[in-house]
C-alpha cells in the first residue's frame, strides 16, 4: 500500500471514530443521525481498502441511501414536527460514560495488537491479490451455490419484516 493510500485510510478511520462519537454523545438526535451518515461513509472507505468493493456499494445504497433517510423520516414524523424532547440524553451520565469509553481504549489497543499478531503470524499466501480482485462475480456465485438457503431465507425475512412494519405502523 502506498503512503498516500495509507493516509486516505487513516483519514477515513478518523472520520469514522469522530462521527461515531457524535452519534453517541450529541444531545440533538437529528444531528446524531446525520453524523451516523458520515460514520457509514468512513466504514465504506474501510471496506474498499479491505477489498470489499461490492459490499461498499451495498453499504452506500442500503445504509446511506436507505436506513439514514428512514431514521430522518422517523425523527421528522415524531419529535421534530412537534419539538418535544429533542434533547433527551441522560445528561448527568455523559462524563462517566466518556471516562469509561476513554478508559477502554488501551484495552482495545492491546486486544487488537494480540489478536492481529496471532492472525497475521500465519497469513494466507495470496491475500493482497485477493483483496485487489473484483468481487461481484464471486459473491454472485457464492450466493447461488453454498449460500442459496440463507439467501432465500433472507428474502422471506425481508418480505415478512416489511409487511410486519406496515402492519405495526398502520393507522387505527
Amino acid at each position: 500500500m502506498s503512503e498516500t493510500a495509507k493516509i486516505v485510510l487513516a483519514v477515513a478511520q478518523l472520520l469514522t471514530v469522530a462521527s461515531a462519537l457524535l452519534v453517541t454523545f450529541h444531545p440533538n438526535i437529528l444531528y446524531a443521525s446525520v453524523a451516523l451518515l458520515f460514520t457509514f461513509l468512513g466504514v465504506t472507505v474501510m471496506f474498499l481498502f479491505a477489498g470489499a468493493d461490492f459490499i461498499a456499494g451495498v453499504q452506500v445504497i442500503v445504509y446511506i441511501g436507505g436506513v439514514t433517510i428512514l431514521v430522518l423520516f422517523a425523527i421528522m414524523l415524531t419529535s421534530w414536527l412537534y419539538q418535544i424532547k429533542l434533547r433527551d440524553t441522560r445528561k448527568r451520565m455523559a462524563i462517566p460514560f466518556l471516562l469509561v469509553g476513554i478508559g477502554l481504549v488501551p484495552f482495545f489497543y492491546k486486544a487488537a495488537e494480540e489478536l492481529a499478531n496471532r492472525v497475521l503470524s500465519s497469513p494466507p499466501a495470496n491475500f493482497e491479490a485477493f483483496a485487489g480482485s473484483p468481487k461481484t462475480n464471486l459473491i454472485g456465485e457464492a450466493l447461488l451455490n453454498n449460500y442459496l438457503l440463507p439467501f432465500e431465507g433472507v428474502t422471506v425475512l425481508l418480505l415478512g419484516a416489511l409487511v410486519g412494519a406496515v402492519w405495526i405502523a398502520r393507522p387505527r
Binding site: A10, I29, T78, A116, F127, A131, A142, A161
Partner: protein
C-alpha cells in the same frame, strides 16, 4: 520498524476501529433515552461486526465467505431498522413520546 500509520492501516487498525465502534454503539444504547438514538447505537454495533468480518475475510482466509456474512448483516440491519421505526411510530401514536423509559406498556 512498524510505524503507527502502518499499524492503523493493517489488520490491527480494522480490529481497533471495530472495537471502538461496537463500544460506542453499546454506550449509545445505554446512554440514549430517545428510542431513535438507541436504534442508531444498534446500527453502529452491526456495522462494527460487518467491519470485522470484512477484515478477517482479507487477512485470515482470503476467501469470499466473510463478505457474504457482511452482506447478510446489512440486509438484516435494514429489516431491523424498518421494524424498529414502525414500532417507534406506533409508540409515538399511543404515548405522544419516543422516550424509551416511558415505554412501559408491557410492565405489570
Amino acid at each position: 520498524m512498524m510505524t503507527f500509520l502502518d499499524w492503523m492501516t493493517g489488520l490491527h487498525g480494522f480490529l481497533f476501529i471495530g472495537m471502538i465502534l461496537a463500544a460506542l454503539g453499546m454506550i449509545a444504547v445505554i446512554y440514549r433515552r430517545n428510542s431513535i438514538g438507541i436504534l442508531l447505537g444498534i446500527e453502529l454495533i452491526l456495522n462494527a461486526a460487518g467491519l470485522n468480518f470484512i477484515a478477517f475475510s482479507k487477512y485470515r482466509t482470503a476467501a469470499i465467505d466473510g463478505q457474504i456474512f457482511t452482506l447478510f448483516i446489512i440486509i438484516i440491519a435494514a429489516a431491523e431498522a424498518a421494524v424498529a421505526l414502525a414500532v417507534i411510530l406506533r409508540l409515538y401514536r399511543l404515548r405522544e413520546t419516543i422516550d424509551a423509559s416511558e415505554a412501559n406498556l408491557l410492565r405489570n
